[in-house]
């Protein structure tokens, strides 16, 4: 754990330039996550349980400072499923930076979205020596649904003895909680 004093996460940090995240896309992720928290009735400061299994186990309540949500923002995420997906990526990017010390440094196209890769440098060929970020989000769901999501993602990451290191992040908005695992 890099930031042992981690107590807060601020969505404003998503709009600072990162090697693989434009300001516009970071803003969209911050809005998406804010819309999801708002849909679950949370205030602008959300107390979220963060659990990490990365070189040891770590668990803590973290204050998430989300953005206020207006009707325009809600309407731009007509598809809540998409808001859940991109909002979860935003939260994962902020938490993995604080907990594992990695930033998203590479992107690749995958499906109709973007696949993110973690690292601490951007030299050499893209993707080389980088870890994959696998994110899954749910608005509401029972503990067993969350456990199944984590298990599925971990199984996917460890299948075929993949040589690619992977960080798995599963976000649940209603409870709210977030689990980070490095299989």
């Amino acid at each position: 754990v890099v930031d042992a004093n981690l107590t807060t996460v601020d969505f404003d940090d998503l709009t600072f330039p990162m090697p693989a995240l434009t300001e516009a896309f970071g803003k969209m992720m911050a809005e998406a996550a804010s819309v999801c928290f708002d849909a679950c009735g949370h205030e602008t400061v959300v107390r979220m349980l963060v659990q990490a299994q990365i070189d040891g186990t770590w668990s803590r309540d973290v204050e998430v400072h989300r953005w206020p949500v207006d009707d325009h923002m809600r309407r731009s995420f007509n598809d809540l499923e998409e808001a859940v997906e991109y909002g979860s990526y935003g939260l994962a990017i902020l938490l993995i930076k604080k907990i594992a010390g990695f930033a998203v440094v590479e992107r690749s196209a995958q499906g109709t979205g973007i696949d993110y890769w973690l690292g601490d440098h951007v030299e050499g060929a893209p993707i080389q020596s980088k870890a994959r970020l696998e994110v899954s989000g749910i608005l509401r769901g029972t503990d067993s649904v969350v456990r199944r999501r984590i298990n599925d993602k971990v199984a996917q990451a460890t299948a075929n003895s993949s040589p690619l290191p992977t960080y798995v992040v599963v976000v649940r908005y209603q409870r709210p909680d977030c689990t980070l695992v490095k299989p």
């Binding site: 693989a20 434009t22 516009a24 896309f25 969209m28 849909a39 679950c40 009735g41 731009s76 995420f77 007509n78 598809d79 809540l80 499923e81 998409e82 992107r107 690749s108 196209a109 995958q110 499906g111 109709t112 979205g113 973007i114 696949d115 951007v122 060929a125 893209p126 993707i127 080389q128 509401r140 769901g141 029972t142 067993s144 649904v145 299948a159 075929n160 003895s161 993949s162 040589p163 690619l164 209603q174 409870r175």
Partner: protein, 372 residues
């Protein structure tokens, strides 16, 4: 000359711009132009890693990325070529699997095209593909269930377009001779459904079937794109709307055995193909007037046997479920539009019910599916 990194970064910035344009409901040509530009940059980047000895996983990931963008802008031959080149190297198994999945998607697009099959305006080709679907061979239950749900979708759309108020029973009585099925074809696995009157032509102005298939394809496309408000404009009646989404969810891919479901029909001289790629778990249905769970309340999920159904009391019918885990009996309130088409086919099966808890043993249904 641009470097690999410059080309790749240009491609990814344009990909982000295309996603943002899609989310802000910009016009399709603008999104396509951005995606096509992104593809052109990413293909040039992948070409710089064409040599099979180029470093992995960079080589295969860049090829997968370029092939994805090619498929997203309809350049299927280019996508096939890039996937082939990537697989001819030594990609990590995880990326190789993703390349094969993408190739399957590219071939499915090809199968959606009619290629010599002549369709009338009243016909639609239904295709499925996935890990357990071979050319001309599909798991029977998976295909038959989907065809049954498509049939219900047609019946309900016929009713809705004839301005008949939603009926909680199956409206098959007057429509059962209107839908015909062809022999299966070895595309991925495809059949043609014919909606019409056999040899008997309808009287002018009395054709119940007119516009029904187009309407269904419009609705399926909106469900696939998650455009809830646009679907509410197409199908304003809540019971019909809920029924449409519920049936489409059951037709959608499960993500394991079946990964894609497609519909192709002829609109004038053009072919029109609609893909249903959103998996069942990603399709959510709003029940009753309550669109969200009350704050602080978590959904309840119960696995058990569907043992009892009571549809005597108007649109809000009830079923009872005996929980596998506790043998406890739960009452489940079923919203209007669901009993006949969504719940009844699961009668006496083991099911998974998810819903909003009303008290200790009563749940307002949000989703129901057959348990694995």
């Amino acid at each position: 000359m641009s470097t690999l990194r410059e080309l790749h970064n240009q491609a990814m910035d344009l990909t982000e711009a295309a996603i943002l344009a899609r989310m802000h409901n910009r016009h399709a040509p603008e999104i396509l132009t951005l995606t096509r530009k992104a593809f052109e940059y990413e293909r040039r980047a992948a070409d710089l890693l064409a040599d099979p000895t180029a470093p992995e996983p960079s080589r295969s990931v860049m090829h997968r990325s370029a092939a994805t963008l090619a498929a997203n802008c309809g350049e299927y031959r280019e996508a096939e070529r890039l996937i082939g080149r990537a697989l001819a190297g030594e990609p990590p198994e995880e990326i190789a699997e993703e390349l094969r999945d993408l190739l399957e998607r590219v071939y499915f697009e090809r199968h959606l095209r009619l290629r010599g099959i002549t369709l009338l305006a009243t016909e639609v080709q239904v295709s499925i593909s996935g890990r357990e679907v071979a050319p001309g061979l599909a798991p029977s239950q998976d295909m038959l269930d989907r065809l049954q749900h498509i049939t219900r979708l047609v019946y309900r759309t016929l009713d809705r377009k004839a301005n008949v108020p939603f009926r909680e029973t199956v409206p098959s009585d007057k429509y059962r001779d209107l839908l015909f099925i062809s022999t299966p074809r070895a595309a991925s696995f495809a059949v043609t459904l014919h909606l019409g009157y056999g040899n008997q032509l309808p009287l002018p102005g009395h054709d119940l079937t007119e516009g029904v298939l187009e309407d269904i394809l419009d609705g399926v496309k909106l469900v696939n794109e998650g455009r809830v408000e646009d679907l509410a404009r197409l199908i304003p009646d809540p019971a019909y709307n809920r029924n449409f989404v519920g049936l489409t969810k059951r037709i959608a891919p499960d993500g394991e055995k079946v990964s894609q479901v497609g519909f192709t029909m002829r609109g004038g001289l053009e072919e029109r193909a609609v893909q249903l790629t959103r998996v069942q778990a990603q399709i959510h249905i709003k029940t009753s007037s309550m669109s969200t769970t009350p704050h602080g309340l978590e959904l309840r999920r119960v696995v058990g046997e569907l043992k009892f159904a009571d549809a005597r009391h108007g649109p809000r019918a009830r079923i009872k479920l005996i929980s596998d885990a506790s043998r406890r009996e739960y009452t489940v309130i079923v919203p209007s539009g669901w009993m006949a088409d969504i719940v009844k086919p699961l009668w006496q099966d083991r099911v998974v019910v998810t819903g909003i808890p009303r008290n200790d043993d009563t749940i307002e249904l949000q989703d129901i599916s057959r348990a694995d």
